[in-house]
């Protein structure tokens, strides 16, 4: 079951990555920056709460 889930998840996520790749490089960078910034903000919040 674990192997099936990992393969399935990788395929689903890979499909999303291909869809993202259709964007221009500039847009991909903006999306990545937004994702990393959101992660940094939230983990800082979690650290503060800890």
């Amino acid at each position: 079951v674990r192997v099936v889930l990992i393969i399935l998840g990788t395929a689903i996520g890979g499909y999303g990555a291909v869809l993202l790749w259709d964007n221009s490089f500039e847009v991909i960078v903006r999306i990545a920056v937004w994702a990393v910034a959101a992660r940094c903000c939230t983990t800082s919040c979690s650290r503060h709460c800890a």
Binding site: L5, I6, L8, G9, L19, T42, T43
Partner: protein
């Protein structure tokens, strides 16, 4: 009680289970909305019940907002583990760490941009719908991989008692109170925003971006000024052209008003999650399609007076075009359509996103 004792796999797994349910609901309802806007031959979307899209898109936004406190608490519950040494280690651990990085970043991306979209605040400078759709697959895949990697831990943790044996003798918050607090946070986040979808919650939904306010009692996303149609919509030369092949008929507003009128109670439901009931009056679209001799089994293209843009022309599938509930509306809640609601006439059809209910119609093409 040391603060760190509140964390543990028993808490993480239970929060993760709730988060998984919220994410699954959000993902599936998001797919529905995507395929309505980008129809595929295999995709079937019914015209009844007329409030169906209102429910699915309302659930999409509600489950997304509910997922925010769940995600924050889940991150808090595993916070020290995220920085355990070695950061990468062997290939298996490196893979696990990478999947967690993708999972957290994609989930936060989805929830933050989705929340901003409900407020129509596009601080990010990329097209929301395509990136939100693509990243939804990334996030969904990362969740499935994460469950696969952690399955033995999840199974064990869900079977563990929530409170440690000594917890009863201790003073202060317990793991159970963490879960109760999280549940209250989810309930609060839901109640203060869900009123844009659920009318009886409107009085308490103080953070809902749209709660039934707007001209003629219906909210407006895009005004006539923003669409640049002030002059063309009020022009005495205005005509609605209906075409089928080489046949074209042009209707003045008076011509449309002279045709048999129908009144329908239909909600208008926006992709941002808000929705509102309204009474629409106008010409049944099927009558206009018949007026140019077209088959009722044809798709119909709606073209707005707006300058060309992503939603200035939309295609209405035949199933919706021939439905007797689908109108070219001239009146809203008993009054002539407000300019911001699409005067002189607009499309209103059941189970469709508001963004596809084309306003300020200039042309209808049977395709």
């Amino acid at each position: 009680v040391k603060p760190s004792s509140l964390r543990g796999t028993a808490v993480t797994a239970r929060i993760g289970l709730a988060l998984g349910v919220a994410v699954a609901a959000c993902f599936l309802t998001g797919l529905i909305s995507h395929f309505i806007q980008h129809p595929q031959p295999w995709f079937f979307w019914p015209t009844r019940p007329v409030w169906l899209y209102r429910v699915t898109q309302g659930l999409h936004v509600i489950s997304g907002i509910a997922a925010i406190p769940l995600l924050v608490v889940k991150l808090w519950s595993v916070w020290p583990k995220l920085f355990q040494r070695p950061i990468l280690g062997g290939p298996v651990r490196a893979l696990e760490r990478l999947s967690i990085l993708v999972l957290v970043a994609s989930m936060l991306f989805q929830l933050s941009t989705g929340l901003l979209n409900t407020a129509q605040w596009y601080a990010f400078e990329f097209f929301f719908t395509t990136s939100h759709y693509a990243m939804a697959w990334v996030a969904a895949g990362a969740v499935v991989v994460h469950v696969g990697v952690k399955l033995p831990v999840i199974r064990r943790a869900l079977g563990e008692p929530l409170d440690e044996p000594a917890a009863g003798a201790s003073v202060g918050p317990t793991r159970r109170s963490v879960l109760v607090g999280t549940g209250l946070a989810v309930a609060l986040a839901t109640v203060v925003t869900a009123g844009q979808t659920i009318p009886w919650l409107r009085r308490v939904s103080v953070l809902a971006p749209r709660s039934g306010e707007g001209p003629q009692g219906v909210p407006v996303n895009r005004s006539a000024v923003a669409a640049g149609v002030l002059r063309s919509a009020r022009s005495p030369q205005y005509r609605l052209a209906v075409t089928h092949g080489s046949t074209t008929r042009a209707f003045t507003i008076a011509d449309l008003a002279a045709m048999p009128q129908a009144t329908r109670q239909l909600p208008i439901s926006c992709v941002e999650g808000w929705s509102a009931n309204a009474e629409w009056t106008g010409v049944v679209l099927a009558d206009l399609v018949a007026a140019v001799g077209a088959s009722p089994d044809s798709d119909v293209r709606m073209i707005s007076l707006e300058p060309p843009g992503p939603y200035s022309r939309t295609v209405l599938p035949a199933r919706h075009a021939r439905d007797s509930q689908t109108l070219i509306a001239l009146r809203l809640n008993g009054e002539v359509l407000d300019l911001d609601h699409g005067y002189p006439c607009r499309l209103i059809a059941p189970t469709r996103p508001g963004v596809l209910q084309t306003k300020w119609l200039s042309r209808i093409e049977v395709v």
